[in-house]
Symmetry: C2
Subunit: 303 residues, 2 copies
C-alpha cells in the first residue's frame, strides 16, 4: 500500500436501506441511519451493498439513496453498489452514483444466467471505460453465482480496471495464504478487503486492508473497537469472542436478515427486507435479543 | 390427468426475445418469431422464459412483448414468465400478462439474496391471490439458486396455488422414479413438465405431461417430431440420437447461448443476448454449424 489511504481502505460501514413494500426509499429514515455512521473510525460508508438491498431498488431510487447518503455522511466518503443484470444499467448506476457524490463504486457481477469469465471481463471493462470513479470488485458468489478466481482477480487488478476487491472469507479460512499470494501479484496500491463479519478477525489478523462490514452499518462503535484491535492479537481475540453469539446467528440465518432485526431492536427503526424476503421468525428474534443482551448491546449503544 | 388438455400440457415452445442493447424489444422481429411457432403440434408458446431473457427486461417491455406474442400466436395459447426479485413486481407482471392476453403464468422464485422455503411459500401465495390465471412453478435452480424439493412441490400442488411445474432434469436421470413419486402425491390434474432438452427424451419416455422446450422455440418442426415420437421407444431413441450433437453443445455451453446462435444460423435473424452476456466464440459457432449440418438442419427447416 502507498502512504495515503485509498478510498477503499479501512473500515467500511454497510447500512440497510429503509424502503416501503414498493421499493420507495424512506429518505428521512435513511439520512438518520447514515448520520449515525459518520464518526471516527469509520473510513467509508458503503451504501447499496447486499445489506442495502441494491438489487431490489430501481435506478432512480438508487440515485436518490446515494444523494441522501452523501449529504448525511458529511466528510465520510460514500461508496455505492452499482451492480445490475444489464451492462447499460450498471453504467447508468455508475454515472448516477458519481453525480450524486459517491467517491467509489462497488461492482458485483450480478447474474440471472450465470456469467462466464469473458462476460465478467467485458462487464468490468465497459464500466471502467464509462466512469472515472475507482471500482471495487464485489466478489460475492452466494448472491451472484460468480466465483472470481485468484488468477482472474490478479488479471483484473493488473489491467488497472479495478482498484480493490471485496472478497468473501478465504477458502478454508486461509486468509494469510490468500493475502500473501495476492499481494505478491497485484499492484502495490491495490486494496485487499474482506466481507463476512463472522470470520473478519482472521482476515484482519492476516493483514487485510479493508473490512466491508455489516455490523459497522448498524453498530459502528463495536465494529470500530474490533477494527482498532486488529494489530493486538489478544485484544482482537477477546473482542471476537465477545461477538461470537452474533457471528453464530449471522452464520445460521445470514447477516442481512439478522441485521435487519437488530436495526429495530437497538432503536434505529423498523426496516423491512423487500418481499418475498420474510422477517426472521419469533424464535430466532428471541435468540438475537438474547445474543444482544449477552454482548451487553443495548439501545443506547446504537445511539 | 383429466380428459381435457390443460394449458400447461403438451409441447411448449420457448422463443428468444429480440431486443436492443438497452433492452427495448424489437416488436416486428418478435412477432415474426412467434408467427413461426404457431403450428400443429405446438401446444403453447412460452414467452419470457429464461430463453426469452425475462429478467433482463423491464415490466413495460415485458407487457409489450406479451401483447405482440398473443397477437402473432393466433389460436396458440401464450404462457408468460413473470418472475422478478420483488413480489410487487411479480404481481404487476402477472396482472400485465393477463391484460396482454396470456393464458398461463410461469413463476420462477428469482433471487438475489437466496430464498428460504417460507419466502417461496409467501411469494407463491401472494401471486396466486393476485391473479386468476393458472400458475406453473418454474423450477430452475441454476438461475434462481432455489431448489424446490419434491415434498415442497407436493405441498404447493395440494394447496392449489400452482397448477403445474416446469422441472429441471430429474436427479441422476431418474425421471420415472420422480414422476411416479409426484403423481402419487399431487392432484390428478396437476401437470408435471420438464425442461432440459438434452435429457427430454427420458422425461417423455417416463410419461411427462409437458416439454418446456428451447429447441421448439426456434426449430419447432424437429421438436414436434420428437414430441410425437414419445410413445414409440424406437422412434424416440432414433430422434434423440440424431439430435445428440446439439444436446452436447447445449450441455457444454448452455442451451440459451447456443440457441441464440442457431436463431441467426437458420435465417431467423440476429438476436443478441443482453450485455454482459457475450455471444459464443468463433470456434463454438463453427461447432454449432457443423452440428446443424450433421443433423441436416438448414435454413429451410426453420422456415
Amino acid at each position: 500500500m502507498g502512504f495515503e489511504l485509498t478510498i477503499f481502505e479501512g473500515l467500511s460501514a454497510f447500512p440497510v436501506t429503509p424502503a416501503d413494500c414498493e421499493g420507495v426509499v424512506d429518505c428521512d429514515h435513511f439520512g438518520r441511519l447514515i448520520d449515525h455512521l459518520s464518526r471516527d473510525g469509520i473510513a467509508s460508508i458503503g451504501v447499496l451493498g447486499s445489506t442495502g438491498g441494491y438489487m431490489y431498488l430501481t435506478t432512480d431510487e438508487r440515485s436518490r439513496a446515494i444523494a441522501i447518503a452523501v449529504e448525511a455522511a458529511g466528510t465520510t466518503p460514500v461508496l455505492a453498489g452499482i451492480g445490475a443484470l444489464r451492462t447499460n444499467d450498471v453504467i447508468a448506476n455508475a454515472r448516477n452514483a458519481k453525480m450524486a457524490g459517491a467517491q467509489g463504486l462497488l461492482l458485483a457481477p450480478v447474474s440471472y444466467l450465470p456469467l462466464t469469465n469473458a462476460d465478467v471481463d467485458s462487464l468490468v471493462q465497459d464500466v471502467a471505460d464509462a466512469t472515472d470513479l475507482p471500482i471495487c470488485f464485489y466478489n460475492n458468489p452466494g448472491t451472484t453465482k460468480f466465483n472470481l478466481s485468484e488468477d482472474h482477480l490478479v488479471r483484473l487488478a493488473n489491467a488497472g480496471t479495478i482498484s480493490a476487491v471485496k472478497n468473501p472469507p478465504a477458502p478454508e479460512g486461509d486468509f494469510t495464504g490468500q493475502i500473501n499470494r495476492l499481494r505478491a501479484a497485484v499492484p502495490s496500491d491495490f486494496c485487499l478487503g474482506y466481507s463476512g463479519d463472522a470470520s473478519i478477525s482472521e482476515a484482519l489478523a492476516a493483514g487485510a486492508d479493508a473490512w466491508y462490514s455489516v455490523l459497522a452499518g448498524t453498530l459502528p462503535n463495536i465494529a470500530v473497537e474490533l477494527w482498532n484491535a486488529r494489530a493486538d492479537t489478544t485484544k482482537l481475540s477477546a473482542m471476537n469472542a465477545r461477538l461470537a453469539p452474533l457471528w453464530r446467528l449471522f452464520d445460521a440465518h445470514g447477516s442481512i436478515r439478522v441485521i435487519h432485526e437488530i436495526v429495530d431492536m437497538v432503536g434505529l427503526g423498523d426496516v423491512k427486507l423487500p418481499p418475498p424476503l420474510l422477517p426472521l421468525n419469533t424464535a430466532v428474534r428471541s435468540d438475537i435479543e438474547n445474543a444482544l443482551s449477552a454482548m451487553e448491546i443495548k439501545k443506547s449503544m446504537a445511539a
